[in-house]
């Protein structure tokens, strides 16, 4: 028994000294991070905690106000809003996280190549990147959805493309800065191959700010996913998504405002939590200048 608590305590202490652990240090970090952990668990264990089937219709009990047994009320088809919000977390989180993962992978590759190779290639990449940079994310996403049609897959790619410029710029800025450092110069002089320098020295040193900005971007991705869903261009029925829920709720705006209010509150709180926790993470890692410089 003692050994178990001892291990747990040591594990906790170890966690506390990691940068993520330090981000939990302040009370803001604790609240925001705690909420995100809770949300993630809710999304993962959705089938076991939803009180009702998210797709089950009960037309005799449509537009029921919040109360018992439907804690957050029901929508026009009598579907339980709470269950749909919980399942919506799955859709929103997975779409946004997948999109940002794609965006980071492509953006880092492009940015690292541009920063490392330089010359005409760098100029060409950065011209395109700066061009998309000046466009609002919703406009880029709409152009992309216009090309490949509505749906969750195209939403994912649309979000990935909308934030691509951000990661390319950020990675390039890191690589350009690192290239001037003495230790890279030394590695070059020791005869290391470009591949080795890039993968073993430049990227590992460049990755932290990119990951942190990526975490912040997941928040933006959630908003973008909700917006596309709201326009009816994202998740198609009956897939529950926060944006799509609010979209179908507009028709009953006056009759059952809770159908719109609750998913929106969850989106807002989630994104605010992501931003607050991201800020704490930036502070814990002390990388504010490296992100600003890009």
């Amino acid at each position: 028994m003692t050994s178990i608590t001892g291990t747990a305590a040591r594990a906790l202490a170890g966690f506390g000294s990691t940068s993520i652990g330090r981000a939990f240090g302040s009370w803001l970090g604790k609240i925001a991070g705690g909420f995100l952990v809770l949300l993630l668990l809710t999304a993962i264990f959705a089938p076991w905690i939803t009180p009702f089937d998210y797709a089950a219709q009960d037309l005799t009990n449509g537009n029921a106000p919040p109360g018992w047994p439907h804690l957050l009320g029901t929508d026009q088809f009598g579907r339980d809003v709470l269950s749909r919000v919980i399942y919506g977390a799955r859709t929103s989180l997975s779409v946004s996280a997948t999109a940002i993962a794609i965006s980071i992978t492509v953006g880092m590759t492009l940015g690292a190549a541009a920063g490392y190779i330089g010359g005409m290639f760098e100029r060409a990449v950065m011209t395109v990147v700066d061009l998309t940079w000046s466009f609002p994310d919703i406009l880029i996403a709409l152009i992309f959805v216009a090309i490949i049609g509505p749906g969750l897959t195209s939403t994912t790619f649309a979000i990935a493309i909308a934030y691509l410029a951000q990661f390319t710029r950020l990675t390039r800025a890191q690589i350009v800065r690192l290239k001037r450092e003495t230790f890279i110069e030394a590695t070059v002089n020791l005869g290391a191959k470009p591949r080795h320098i890039l993968l073993r020295h430049l990227l590992p040193n460049a990755i932290t700010p990119v990951i942190v900005v990526g975490m912040l971007a997941i928040g933006d991705g959630i908003v973008l996913e909700a917006t596309l869903g709201f326009f009816g261009l994202g998740a198609q029925p009956p897939t529950p998504s926060w944006g799509a829920m609010m979209s179908s709720g507009t028709a009953q705006l006056f009759l059952s405002p809770w159908v719109i209010i609750f998913p929106g509150v969850v989106v807002a709180v989630t994104v605010i939590a992501v931003n607050l926790f991201g800020d704490e993470l930036i502070r814990a890692l002390d990388i504010k200048d490296r992100i600003r410089g890009a």
């Binding site: 406009l139 049609g149 509505p150 908003v223 709201f230 929106g264 989106v267």
Partner: protein, 309 residues
Amino acid sequence: MLLRYTFFRVLMLIPVSIAISVVIFMIVHLLPGDPIDNLIRVGSSPDDRTALIAKYGLDQPLFVQYFRWIGAMFQGDFGEAIVLRRPVADLIAQNLPYSLQLGALAFLFSSIVGITLGTISATTRSAWVEQIVRGFILIGSTVPGFWLALLMILFFAVQLQWFPVSGAKGWQSLVLPVLTIGVGGVALVARVTRVALLDVRKEDFVTLLHAKGLPSRTILTGHLMPHAMLPVVTILALRIGWILGGAVTVEFVFGRPGLGSLLIRALGQRDYPVVQGCLLMLALAVMLGTLIGDVAQAAMDPRVREAKT
């Protein structure tokens, strides 16, 4: 010098516009399915089909089609809407003024209120004003615009009945959309103004002005503000694009006519000539916005002109 800068900056727009127009042109050609399938009547012969393909120039190489398309645009011919069965140019001409009005008002609102709030928070230097501004920024930059719009409708239009729920009749119908788009901008402008003012205040020449005995008000309006406006103008110029993006959502929610609601409706109906026309206009507006911002910045700061030409 400024003229030279502006000239090069405008010149740079040419490759950029070509790139954007190619992407928007490709929308129709990357779509699965053949547009002819929608036009052709059931039971037509293969000859009818080839005639239709020739009529719309679809037998030509892609780049020839592109030049025809862009050439027609320059003559104000944006094609014909498939669902609405009207020239796209007419639809755009009808909707554009509403978007411009909304965008301009939202821009004015966020600049005036933002700069005022920022100045107040910098001069009072009170912690809680700073906290309120921070809270505003967090909410303005994180809460989805369409949801904010819906809440505004629920509270101000349904509960209090101060403003109409939707439509575009009279100034009352503009209040809620402008507020919705403006909230994020106000917060951002306020923060940039505040930080810029506090930065300039640390400069030696400001200490000298105080030592000379100039009244604080004169120092603020005559010396601090002109310096602090530089980053503010930059952020405002960048904001133009975001205001347009916000307008797309907000127009849709408030059921206002405008480029944004036209675009969303056309996307839902897969009315691609309209989608292309709207996207092209919005892209053009974003580019013009950044152009104006860059030139204004160069006009205010000689260092920018030097660095970029």
